[in-house]
Symmetry: C2
DNA sequence: GTCTATAAATTGATAGAC
DNA sequence: GTCTATCAATTTATAGAC
């Protein structure tokens, strides 16, 4: 899921370097824009091709099918710098919410595609399923570490993962971020994505600490960090 | 937003009562199913018509256009019994999450359509924008009432609505519910929608009570109710 | 009132020119 | 390697039969 499957031709022989860097990437950017505006199903190859002044078939030369194009667009994200693991991951999420408010296009891309992916036979279904599973684990690790600095996520202790309070908190934090995006995209003045994300993270950590779940961790410590 | 715009012919003259109650409603149910499975844009009138054994044009006779059909499907929800206002509204949300887990079709319908509605020129955009605005107000009223039983939501006191902690909590609770639906639809065993919704509602109420926001309200009171 | 036949436009994708 | 001409299938919607 992390390795870019498609080879990125560092400098295609017939390409004048500096004149046109990479046609594939131009198409990728155009496709990301159009998918963000229209969703995957409603977007047409013609829309994407028109952005670049070519025909739909021109796009399909570089990517075998519309589905392949979507896959490549999603894989783009994995190119970015890796997020911090552990305690700092929660702050990173709040930062992400803040940055998302400055780039509606990218925000809409993932908001629309993630929800669209639950439709029958959607090509991005596996990608998002795995992505959420991974993120839930990462966020849980961050929550556990904040409750009890240095601790690791406890192994299976009888109850299923989904029922573990720290895992529930992780699912909740991710869910808030996603849900806020839709509300914000519909009405940017109605919600502050970063502020609400921070509020929920703080509230959950405080709550779990008070419930007697984490071994120690005073309420104050958890309160101030996110 | 509450009144059904389309007239519901109580008993069309030429209709044998009891044999076929209402062709419109049959189409509406079929459309809801297909929109839930495919989303609005990807769904075709042919898919809907096939369910009933007729042609696409047969569907368009009852509803002037595909968009009108979507509008009618969304308006269906307003027919249900009205949810409780005030304090009990939070419990109602948890109940809703639990019921949603038993009807994936309806859950998917709103999860897919709400996110799809943020795409450019989507016909359901206004509907969802208004829906969220209304829900945020209702949920905030419930949160306020739980923090300080009997109290009402304070009028504008300088800070914008979106920045008021109780309003932020309301947006958060709705966002969690929406985000959880996507995670759950992708992987039903990974999350318990009702449990996590309750967790977040409790955590937020406790947190706001502790922050010194609500006038009084002991932590214990808020803890036990949701 | 209920619906089929039909049209006009658009879709993703193949085959092949340059 | 880059892309256009072209195709077969599917789209929403109109006009009109019953």
């Amino acid at each position: 899921m992390s390795e870019p499957a498609q080879q990125t031709p560092a400098a295609t022989p017939g390409n004048t370097p500096g004149k046109r860097v990479n046609r594939r990437e131009e198409i990728l950017r155009a496709a990301a824009d159009v998918f963000a505006s229209q969703g995957f199903h409603n977007a047409s190859l013609a829309d994407i091709a028109a952005t670049l002044g070519i025909t739909p078939a021109g796009v399909l030369h570089h990517f075998g099918s519309k589905t392949d194009l979507l896959t490549a667009v999603l894989e783009l994200r994995d190119s970015a710098d890796p997020p911090p693991k552990g305690r700092r991951f929660l702050d990173h999420l709040v930062d992400t919410a803040e940055r998302n408010a400055a780039r509606p296009g990218t925000t809409r891309l993932y908001a629309v595609l993630s929800a669209e992916s639950v439709t029958e036979g959607h090509p991005a279904q596996d990608w998002f399923r795995h992505r959420y599973a991974e993120l839930r684990a990462d966020v849980e690790a961050a929550v556990v570490d904040r409750l009890d600095p240095g601790a690791a996520v406890p192994a299976a202790d009888g109850v299923p993962e989904a029922a573990r309070p720290t895992r529930e908190a992780a699912a909740a934090i991710l869910a808030v971020m996603d849900g806020l995006q839709v509300q914000w995209l519909l009405d940017p003045d109605a919600v502050d994505m970063a502020a609400v994300t921070r509020l929920v993270a703080d509230a959950l950590v405080t709550h779990l600490a008070g419930t007697g779940d984490g071994p120690a961790a005073g309420p104050g410590a958890a309160d101030r960090t996110a």
